[in-house]
């Protein structure tokens, strides 16, 4: 029995027509496998809501005077102009950049030295590899508390050992001139392990033949390192430096735990200031504006850095 006149077709198996279309949907001529999308939903939904959504909301809030309670009121660029005139923004930006100038090169060099050492595969290298990486698995709170004790001016271990070499007590965390060095020391110890793993992976990708060829051609170990290994390690170095720059520009936990921004604001970072403004004074609009400015800074610095390190494959 056929269909009567122009009556609409009944969807097969009782399914609704849109669902059927969705099931048969294609992309570039291939049928879409929706099950894959269902599998990534548990990640995608929180990511969109908590990360992307919150970030966009943060940008919106930066143009308002929102203080958690009540509706946000649009204030245009007022928060941004306030930030540009705020001496604490200048101070914290300066502190953060100086901290980055200490931590990024120091961590990269330390990680490179550790990676080169492990890559030599001398006796006990597996233990060294684990030992170098171990600090990275420790919580930053623990790292901070331990280093506060280690760097105590009066009875800290670091000064005790330095004292044996005749070095007078260094006020690592109690003097405005020294405090960034103190925090940086803890950060390098904490961060270097992860960077080492990345550099080690890069080193292990370099064929041994290249170094052998250099050696046969009369290159010293240093020349082989400088002219063969480091150029080939450029992609890994680029990644390490990029991640370190991003990490240092948004440093917070170490500073919050070790110095709370002191003494005299000498270690207050941008994020520490954002935290104070947002979570102590509840001026979320202003905190949002500073955060957006930091985001823009990170973006620009990363783009410049990627340009400098422009990746080349061999």
């Amino acid at each position: 029995m056929g269909a009567i006149g122009g009556a609409p077709a009944i969807p097969r198996a009782g399914r609704s027509l849109p669902f059927d279309r969705l099931r048969r949907a294609t992309w570039n001529g291939e049928r879409i496998d929706w099950s894959a999308y269902i599998f990534i939903l548990p990640f995608l939904v929180p990511f969109l809501v908590v990360t992307i959504g919150a970030s966009l909301f943060g940008v919106y809030v930066s143009f308002t005077d929102w203080g958690i309670i009540g509706a946000p009121h649009w204030v245009g660029l007022k928060n941004y102009s306030r930030a540009l005139a705020d001496p604490w923004v200048v101070k914290t930006w300066s502190n953060t950049l100086r901290y980055g100038m200490l931590v990024v090169p120091a961590t990269t060099l330390a990680a490179l030295a550790m990676a080169l050492f492990v890559n030599l595969r001398w006796r006990g290298y597996t233990f060294a590899r684990a030992a170098f990486y171990a600090p990275n698995v420790v919580s930053v709170t623990v790292i901070g508390l331990v280093w506060v004790w280690m760097l105590d001016t009066q009875y800290g271990l670091v000064n005790q050992y330095l004292g044996r070499f005749g070095v007078p007590d260094i006020p690592w965390l109690t003097n405005p001139g020294w405090v960034l060095y103190g925090v940086a020391l803890a950060s390098v110890w904490w961060d270097a392990g992860f960077s080492m793993v990345v550099l080690l992976a890069g080193l292990q990708d370099i064929p041994g033949e290249l170094r052998e060829s250099a050696s046969i051609d009369g290159a010293t170990p240093f020349q082989a390192l400088w002219h063969v290994v480091l150029p080939l390690l450029r992609p890994a170095l680029s990644l390490v430096v990029t991640l370190l720059i991003i990490g240092t520009l948004r440093v917070f936990s170490q500073i919050y735990i070790m110095t709370n921004g002191g003494p005299a604001g000498a270690s207050a970072s941008v994020i520490h200031y954002v935290y104070e403004i947002g979570f102590s004074k509840y001026q979320l609009g202003y905190a949002g504006a500073i955060s957006v400015m930091l985001f823009a800074t990170i973006l620009v610095v990363t783009l410049i850095q990627l340009r400098v390190f422009r990746e080349k494959t061999w």
Partner: protein, 437 residues
């Protein structure tokens, strides 16, 4: 018949089950909770150290005493640094806890926003009488004449003295310093140095943060400086006294050399014998007693014109609720906790805020030795340096490590600016805060 479950069918089944769980079971749980008895009041607290343990005993005692009376308290610890945002964001949706810890004078902004509830009417309905409360405690808990907090304990800053150090220095611990000159003389005898370097502070300080800021604030008040006039119109009354007080603090480091800026953790430094006299609050007592530190307390000496000292008044506040029917039960719970605050004010933290408790014969003998906690109780009449109850109240607080006062005064202690420049900067901001109301 063989039925084959495809991957697609399995996914659909799982999705359906998840939907059922999300839409059906969760409300069922909520309904069960709402219908269940007894009513459970939610209490947020930031107390985590030894005082937190005693407060937990208070809550346990309440629950035991009210087991058959229909009200129980569930205490949840919210970290101190997240407390404000947690309460504000929860209150915005009507989901804040029924009550929580507050500090007198610092809630003007929350009062304006309607986050904290006025208690007078609720207490009246719940039959709570305020006549037994210490008047100063009630006064500090009011904003615009209305009561917003049940004062639970008063914490004044007084001086702890390491008895072993004092005895070794030949000092009579039964006659601790009463004046600024005596304090400096004692500090001089208690200080240990190696060359120019202070290795043990006679008067324990840190180079920045809370300790120098609160010491400055107290000494400045004693010398006549006021952060705000009584009518909250003028900031920085008698600014010169504020400058003199800052110089007095600086002199501890550089002139008298009885303090060092090199102390990282002041609590630890006093506990480990790296300081002999320590201006602090009663919340430190439990820890030092437990560690068997040999110490006594004495009242803040008269450095300026009197023996005024800083105080912090802790208490319980009620937060705005969707369900108004819970308010009376909450008020009853607060009354019980206040009525039974003997344990809290003898072993827990500060001085009692109830006249009947202060008058009890065993008030001085319960809890820690009177030599240890006596100054914190007897010194309460001198504890007059409190908070300034305006929206930007935190800008005025002198007990702060990272707040406006500390950030402005820290460069003075680091010798990066002058006392006058810092005090002028304080007054400028404070005046703007007062003008904003």
């Amino acid at each position: 018949m063989v039925s084959r479950v495809t991957r697609r069918t399995a996914l659909q089944l799982m999705g359906g089950m998840a939907g059922i769980l999300a839409t059906g079971v969760a409300p069922a749980i909520r309904l069960a909770g709402a219908a269940g008895k007894p009513i459970e009041l939610v209490h947020w607290s930031w107390l985590t150290a030894s005082d937190g343990e005693v407060w937990q005993q208070m809550i346990d005692s309440f629950n035991a005493a009210n087991k058959d009376k229909g009200t129980q308290i569930r205490m949840e610890v919210v970290p101190d640094d997240q407390y404000g945002t947690t309460v504000l964001s929860a209150a915005a949706t009507g989901n804040a806890s029924d009550f929580g810890w507050g500090t007198a004078g610092l809630r003007a902004d929350w009062v304006k926003k309607g986050v904290v509830l006025p208690l007078d009417e609720t207490f009246k309905q719940a039959g709570v009488s305020l006549s037994d409360f210490v008047p100063a405690g009630l006064a500090a808990s009011r904003y615009g004449g209305k009561l917003y907090m049940v004062p639970m304990d008063g914490m004044s800053l007084q001086v702890l003295l390491n008895v072993d150090h004092a005895t070794a220095a030949g000092l009579d611990v039964s006659k601790p310093p009463q004046t600024g000159d005596e304090l400096l003389a004692w500090a001089g005898k208690l200080t240990q140095r190696e060359g120019d370097k202070v290795t043990r502070s006679g008067f324990l300080m840190t180079g920045s943060g809370v300790q120098p800021t609160v010491t400055w604030g107290i000494v400045a008040y004693q010398m006549g400086f006021r952060r705000a006039s009584p009518d909250l119109k003028k900031a920085g009354v008698n600014a010169e006294a504020g400058v003199q007080a800052a110089q007095w603090v600086l002199d501890l480091f550089d002139k008298h050399r009885v303090s060092t800026r090199d102390v990282t953790d002041r609590y630890k430094a006093f506990g480990t014998g790296n300081g002999s006299m320590f201006l602090t609050g009663p919340w430190t007592l439990n820890g030092y007693v437990q560690n068997k530190l040999n110490f006594i307390s004495f009242q803040m000496p008269k450095v300026g014109k009197d023996r005024s000292t800083y105080f912090e008044l802790g208490g319980l506040e009620m937060y705005v609720q969707k369900d108004q029917s819970r308010l009376e039960r909450t008020a009853q719970a607060l009354r019980w906790l206040s009525d039974n605050s003997f344990l809290w004010t003898t072993k827990g933290r500060g001085a009692a805020m109830r006249k009947s408790i202060l008058a009890r014969g065993d008030y001085k003998t319960a809890g820690h030795d009177w030599k240890v906690r006596g100054a914190f109780i007897d010194g309460m009449p001198n504890a007059v340096v409190g908070e300034v109850p305006v929206s930007a109240g935190p800008d005025f607080t002198i007990y702060t490590g990272g707040g406006f006062a500390a950030k402005t005064m820290d460069p003075v202690w680091a010798k990066q600016t002058t006392p006058k420049a810092a005090v002028d900067a304080l007054i400028q901001q404070w005046q703007a805060d007062l003008d904003a109301g």
